[in-house]
C-alpha cells in the first residue's frame, strides 16, 4: 500500500467538515444571507472539545464509549473507498458489503447511545432512524449489484475503475438512475432535507439530531466529526460514479473526484434551499421509490 492510496482517508479526515460549510453557504446564498464561515464546523468541533461533559442522569459507559465506536467504524470504512483511478487501500471482492455493514455498526451504536439516555425524544429518533435505515439498505445493495453486473467486477475499486461513460444507453441511463437513487440515500442517511431537517428546533419532528440531543462537549464533537465523515463517504461514492469518467488523464480524474464531492455538497445545499421537508409518513415511499429506481436500472441492464 502506497501512502497515496489512502487519499480518501486523509482527505476525508482533513476536509470532511468543509462539506457542512459548503452546504450552509449555499443555503445562505439562496436566502440572501452572508452565512457562516466555510470553516464553521471546524470551529464548532474545536469549541466542543474544550468544553466539559454533562451526562444524562441514567447514562452509562455505553453512552460514553459509543461515539468512539461510531467514529472508528466510519474511519475504517474510509479505507474501502477508492478515489477515481486510485484504488482503495483495502479492496477485495464484495467490499461494498462490508462498507454497508460498517455503516450499520455506526448506526447501531448511535441508536444504542440514544436509548441509553432513557429520553422519550431520543427513543423516538432512534425508532425512526432504524425504520428508515432498514428501508435504505436494499437501495445501496441493489445499486452495488447493478454496478457489479454492469462492469463485471465485484470490488468498489475495480467497479469504479471500469465504468465507461461513453454511450448513452445502457451505461448513461443506468448511472443516472443510480445517482438519483443514491442521492436519496445520501439525504436520508445524513438526515438532510427533505427527510430530516438538521436545523429544526422541534424535537418531535427530528430524526438524527434528536438522537444526540443530550450529547455534549467532546462527545458531541466526535459525533459531529463522524457525521461529516459519513456525508463525505456518500459524496465520494456518488462522485466516483460520474466525475472521474468525464476525463481522460488519471491526474485529471483524481481532481475530478474532488470536484464531484464538492458538487454533491452544492447539490445538497440547493435541495435544502428549494425544498421543504416531506411528511414522516411519506419517507418510506421516498425510500421504496429509490429502490424502485435501482430496480428499473437492473431491469434495463437485463433487457439491454
Amino acid at each position: 500500500m502506497k501512502p497515496f492510496d489512502a487519499i480518501t482517508l486523509f482527505s476525508a479526515l482533513l476536509f470532511s467538515p468543509l462539506l457542512f460549510g459548503i452546504i450552509n453557504r449555499i443555503k445562505a446564498m439562496f436566502a440572501g444571507r452572508n452565512g457562516s464561515p466555510l470553516l464553521q464546523t471546524y470551529f464548532d468541533i474545536f469549541k466542543l472539545f474544550r468544553k466539559n461533559m454533562i451526562y444524562g442522569n441514567s447514562t452509562t459507559l455505553v453512552f460514553q464509549l459509543a461515539p468512539a465506536g461510531i467514529l472508528a467504524a466510519l474511519i475504517v470504512a474510509l479505507l474501502l473507498i477508492p478515489w477515481g483511478p486510485i484504488e482503495a487501500p483495502i479492496s477485495f471482492s464484495g467490499d461494498f458489503i462490508l462498507l454497508a455493514y460498517l455503516l450499520g455498526l455506526s448506526r447501531f451504536l448511535t441508536v444504542i447511545a440514544a436509548l441509553d439516555t432513557g429520553s422519550s425524544f431520543e427513543g423516538m429518533g432512534a425508532s425512526r432512524e432504524v425504520t428508515f435505515a432498514a428501508l435504505g439498505e436494499p437501495t445501496f445493495m441493489l445499486g452495488a449489484l447493478l454496478l457489479a453486473i454492469h462492469t463485471g467486477e465485484s470490488s468498489l475499486s475495480r467497479i469504479f475503475g471500469s465504468i465507461q461513460l461513453t454511450e448513452l444507453h445502457p451505461t448513461g441511463t443506468t448511472i443516472t438512475l443510480l445517482v438519483a437513487a443514491w442521492m436519496i440515500l445520501l439525504l436520508t442517511e445524513n438526515s438532510r432535507i427533505p427527510v430530516d431537517d438538521p436545523n429544526t428546533h422541534l424535537e418531535l419532528t427530528m430524526i438524527h439530531e434528536v438522537m444526540v440531543l443530550d450529547t455534549g462537549g467532546p462527545l458531541l464533537g466526535i459525533v459531529t466529526y463522524a457525521s461529516a465523515i459519513k456525508i463525505w463517504i456518500f459524496s465520494a461514492l456518488i462522485s466516483n460514479l460520474v466525475f472521474p469518467h468525464l476525463f481522460e488523464k488519471p491526474a485529471m480524474q483524481t481532481v475530478g473526484v474532488a470536484v464531484g464531492i464538492i458538487f454533491v455538497a452544492v447539490v445538497v445545499g440547493i435541495i435544502e434551499s428549494i425544498m421543504g421537508r416531506i411528511r414522516l409518513r411519506n419517507i418510506p415511499k421516498l425510500l421504496v421509490g429509490a429502490t424502485a429506481l435501482v430496480a428499473t436500472g437492473l431491469l434495463m441492464t437485463l433487457a439491454g
Binding site: N52, G94, A134, P138
Partner: protein, 663 residues
C-alpha cells in the same frame, strides 16, 4: 466410533441415574450434568477427527427388528452438525444447575435433557432410515417433556400441545418419505439410498423433496411451519430454549442437507422453492420478532428469520448444482452451513442471557423492563454481544456467514443471464432488508431492556448470577468472536464436508477456500483495524472525560421542560417499533385494545397492542377446523367398548387371511 458411542451411553446413563436419585435433587443434577460433560468430551475426539478428515468409521450391529439395522457412522457433515450439540449441550446443562431452583421434577427433567442430547447425537450419525426415525421420535418426545417443565401453567401445556402436533405432522411426512424411498430401493440404509438415487423418476423425486421440506421443515421452523417455535420457546426453561433453538432446530436443516443426497440431481425448481421460502421466512420472521413484547418470543421469531437465511443458502446451493455452477453451489451450501454454526452460538448466548434476565426479574415482558445494565452489567454486555452478532454487524460471527451468502449472490450475478441475476437480486435485497430490520429488532430488545430506566418498579433486585450461569455465556461470547475471526480456517473443512457427503456434489472442482480467502482475510484485517482504532479512541475519550471528572456533571435529559419526568414516560418497545409495524401491516395482525378515560371524572384508561401470528390465525386454525369437521364422524368407531375392538381385530385378521390366500 466406539468412543463416540460410549459418550452417548454415558450421557444417557446420567439421565437414568438422575431419575434414580430424584429424591436427592442436588445429587441428581450433579450426576446428570457431569455425565453430559464427560460424554461430550469423550465424543469430541471422534467428532474433531472426523472434521479434519480421518476417514469415517462405520459401526454396524445386529438388530432384532424386522427391518433396519443399527448402523452409525460419523462423516464430516455429521461431525460439523455435531459441534453445536457437544458445545451447547454441556454449556446449557451447566447453566441449568443454577437456573433450576425448585426441586420438583428435577430427576425426570434431566432424564429427558440427557435423552435429548443423546438422541441428537445418534440422529446425526444414524445411517439407517429406521434407526433415524426412532431417534427422531425420541428427540421429539423428550423435547416435548422439556418444554412442558412448568406444566402447572396452562399456557405451557398449550405450547407443548402445539409443539407435539407440529412435530408429528413432520414425522408423518418423514415416515412417508423414508417408506417410499425404502420401497423403491429395497433397503433402508442411507448409502443404499445414495447409490440408487439416480433411478428415481423426476416426478417421484419432486414428491420426495416436498415431503422432506415439510418433514424436516416443521422441525427447523421453516415458515409457515414455524408456529410451534414462538409458543414453545417462551414456555420452556431458558436452557432448554437455548438447546432447542441453538441445536435441535438445526436437526431439521441437517435432515434437509442429508436427504438431498437421496433424491438425485436436483432441478432448479427445488432451489427456487427453498430460496423463495427462505426469503419469505426471513422477512416475516424478523418483522414478527421486532413486533413482540415477550423477550423470549422475540428470540424465537428471530430463529425463524435465521432459519430462513439458512434456507436461502440451501436453495442457492441447489440452484448452483442445477446450473452446473459449482462455485455458486459451494458458496450457497457453505454459507448455510457456516450460518448454522454461527446461529447456534449467538442464539444460544442470547437465550441464556435472556434467561438470566427472566431468572432475576421474573419478567419476560419488555414493556416493563429497563435500565438493567446498571444492575447486571455482565449479563448486559453478553446480551449486547449476542445482539450485535445476530444483527450480522461486524466484527462478530453473524456477519461472516451472511457475507458468504451475499458473496454467492454477487458471483451468481457475474455469470449473467436472467435467472442468476434474479437470484442475486433476491438474495441481496432480502439480506439487506433483513439486516436492517434485525438492527431494529435487536436495538429494541438490547437497548430498551438494559438501557434507560426501569419502566415499572420491580419487587426484586436483579443482579448478575453466579459463575455457573455466567461461564457458559462467556464461553459462547468468546465463540462468537472466534468464529468471526477464524472462519477462514474453518472453510476448508466445511467445503470438504459438503463435497464428500453427496454424489451430486462430488468431484466438483470448487475452491470455496480460494474464492473466499482473499475477501475474508481483508475483512479480518478490517476487523483488527476497527478494534484497534476503537480502543485508541475509547481511551482518548475516557482520558478526556476522566481528566475532568470533577467538572463533568449529571443532569436530567431534555424533556421539553416537563416538571415531573417519570421512567414510565420513556419510549416503550411497542412505540419503538410502531413505524415498522405500521409499514408491515399486510404481514402482521395488529390488534389494539384501547380503553379511553371517559366521562366528566375519568378515572383510568389503558392501551395495549397485541400482535397475532397471521399464519396461525388465518391458515392453520381454519385448516384444523376443516380437518376436525371431516374426521369427527369417524369417532363412532372409537367408543371404548373393548369387546367390539376385539371384533375389529378379528375381522381385520380374517380379511388379511383371505387376501393372502387369494394371492
Amino acid at each position: 466410533m466406539w468412543l463416540f458411542l460410549i459418550g452417548c451411553i454415558v450421557i444417557e446413563t446420567g439421565g437414568l441415574l438422575a431419575v434414580l436419585f430424584s429424591k436427592y435433587p442436588h445429587l441428581a443434577k450433579g450426576i446428570a450434568v457431569s455425565c453430559i460433560v464427560v460424554g461430550s468430551v469423550l465424543s469430541a475426539i471422534p467428532v474433531i477427527s472426523a472434521i479434519v478428515g480421518v476417514s469415517p468409521e462405520v459401526l454396524r450391529a445386529a438388530w432384532n427388528l424386522p427391518v433396519g439395522e443399527f448402523n452409525i457412522s460419523l462423516d464430516p457433515l455429521s461431525a460439523l452438525f455435531m459441534l453445536p450439540v457437544i458445545t451447547l449441550g454441556p454449556l446449557t446443562a451447566l447453566y441449568s444447575t443454577e437456573y433450576l431452583k425448585h426441586p420438583q421434577g428435577i430427576g425426570s427433567h434431566y432424564f429427558f435433557y440427557n435423552t435429548l442430547i443423546a438422541a441428537m447425537m445418534l440422529l446425526l450419525t444414524a445411517q439407517n432410515a429406521i434407526l433415524f426415525l426412532i431417534v427422531w421420535e425420541i428427540m421429539a418426545i423428550s423435547s416435548f417433556f422439556l418444554v412442558t417443565f412448568d406444566d402447572q401453567l396452562s399456557s405451557v401445556r398449550e405450547a407443548g400441545w402445539t409443539y407435539l402436533i407440529a412435530t408429528h405432522i413432520g414425522v408423518m411426512a418423514l415416515l412417508a418419505f423414508f417408506a417410499i424411498l425404502g420401497q423403491k430401493t429395497g433397503d433402508y440404509n442411507f448409502n443404499h439410498f445414495i447409490e440408487s438415487s439416480h433411478s428415481l423418476s423426476p416426478e417421484l423425486a419432486t414428491v420426495l423433496f416436498g415431503l422432506s421440506v415439510v418433514g424436516f421443515g416443521s422441525k427447523a421452523g421453516i415458515f409457515p411451519l414455524h408456529i410451534w417455535l414462538p409458543d414453545a420457546h417462551p414456555a420452556a426453561p431458558s436452557h432448554v430454549s437455548a438447546l432447542m433453538s441453538g441445536v435441535m432446530i438445526k436437526m431439521g436443516i441437517y435432515g434437509l442437507f442429508r436427504s438431498l443426497a437421496f433424491i438425485g440431481a436436483p432441478p432448479s425448481e427445488w432451489g427456487w422453492t427453498l430460496v423463495a421460502l427462505g426469503a419469505l421466512a426471513s422477512v416475516v420472521g424478523i418483522v414478527y420478532a421486532l413486533s413482540q413484547h415477550d423477550l423470549k418470543r422475540m428470540l424465537a421469531y428471530s430463529s425463524v428469520e435465521n432459519i430462513g437465511i439458512i434456507c436461502m443458502g440451501l436453495g442457492t446451493g441447489i440452484l448452483g448444482i442445477a446450473w452446473q455452477n459449482s462455485a455458486l453451489s459451494i458458496l450457497g451450501f457453505g454459507g448455510a452451513m457456516l450460518h448454522v454454526l454461527n446461529h447456534s452460538v449467538f442464539k444460544g448466548l442470547l437465550f441464556l442471557s435472556a434467561g438470566t434476565v427472566v431468572h432475576e426479574t421474573h419478567s419476560k415482558e419488555m414493556n416493563t423492563l429497563g435500565g438493567l445494565l446498571k444492575k447486571m452489567p455482565f449479563t448486559a454486555s453478553l446480551f449486547f454481544t449476542g445482539a450485535i452478532a445476530a444483527s450480522a454487524i461486524p466484527p462478530f460471527n453473524g456477519f461472516v456467514s451472511e457475507f458468504v451468502l451475499y458473496f454467492a449472490g454477487i458471483k451468481s450475478a457475474l455469470t449473467h443471464g436472467i435467472a442468476p441475476i434474479t437470484l442475486a437480486a433476491v438474495l441481496l435485497t432480502t439480506l439487506a432488508l433483513v439486516g436492517g430490520l434485525a438492527v431494529a429488532a435487536f436495538t429494541k430488545s438490547a437497548g430498551l431492556i438494559f438501557l434507560g430506566e426501569p419502566r415499572v418498579s420491580l419487587d426484586v433486585t436483579p443482579k448478575d448470577p453466579g459463575w455457573r450461569m455466567k461461564a457458559p455465556q462467556l464461553v459462547l461470547a468468546v465463540c462468537a468472536i472466534a468464529l468471526g475471526v477464524f472462519s477462514p480456517y474453518l472453510l476448508p473443512f466445511i467445503e470438504a464436508a459438503i463435497q464428500n457427503y453427496s454424489p451430486v456434489m462430488h468431484g466438483a472442482p470448487t475452491p470455496l477456500y480460494d474464492v473466499l480467502q482473499p475477501s475474508l482475510q481483508n475483512i479480518i484485517i478490517v476487523f483488527g483495524l476497527l478494534l484497534a482504532l476503537f480502543a485508541v479512541l475509547a481511551a482518548t475519550v475516557t482520558i478526556l472525560s476522566g481528566g475532568r471528572k470533577s467538572t463533568s456533571e449529571r443532569r436530567p435529559v431534555w424533556d421539553c421542560g416537563y416538571a415531573r419526568p417519570e421512567p414510565s414516560m420513556q419510549y416503550t418497545p411497542s412505540s419503538y417499533t410502531a413505524p415498522i409495524v405500521n409499514l408491515f401491516r399486510a404481514i402482521l395482525r395488529l390488534k389494539i385494545v384501547r380503553i379511553a378515560p371517559n366521562g366528566f371524572f375519568p378515572d383510568s384508561g389503558s392501551f395495549e397492542t397485541i400482535i397475532k401470528d397471521r399464519t396461525r390465525e388465518s391458515f392453520f386454525a381454519p385448516l384444523f377446523k376443516f380437518a376436525a369437521k371431516i374426521l369427527l364422524p369417524f369417532k363412532i368407531l372409537q367408543h371404548g367398548h373393548v369387546h367390539i375392538y376385539v371384533i375389529y381385530v378379528a375381522v381385520t385378521l380374517i380379511a388379511l387371511l383371505f387376501i393372502t390366500a387369494g394371492n
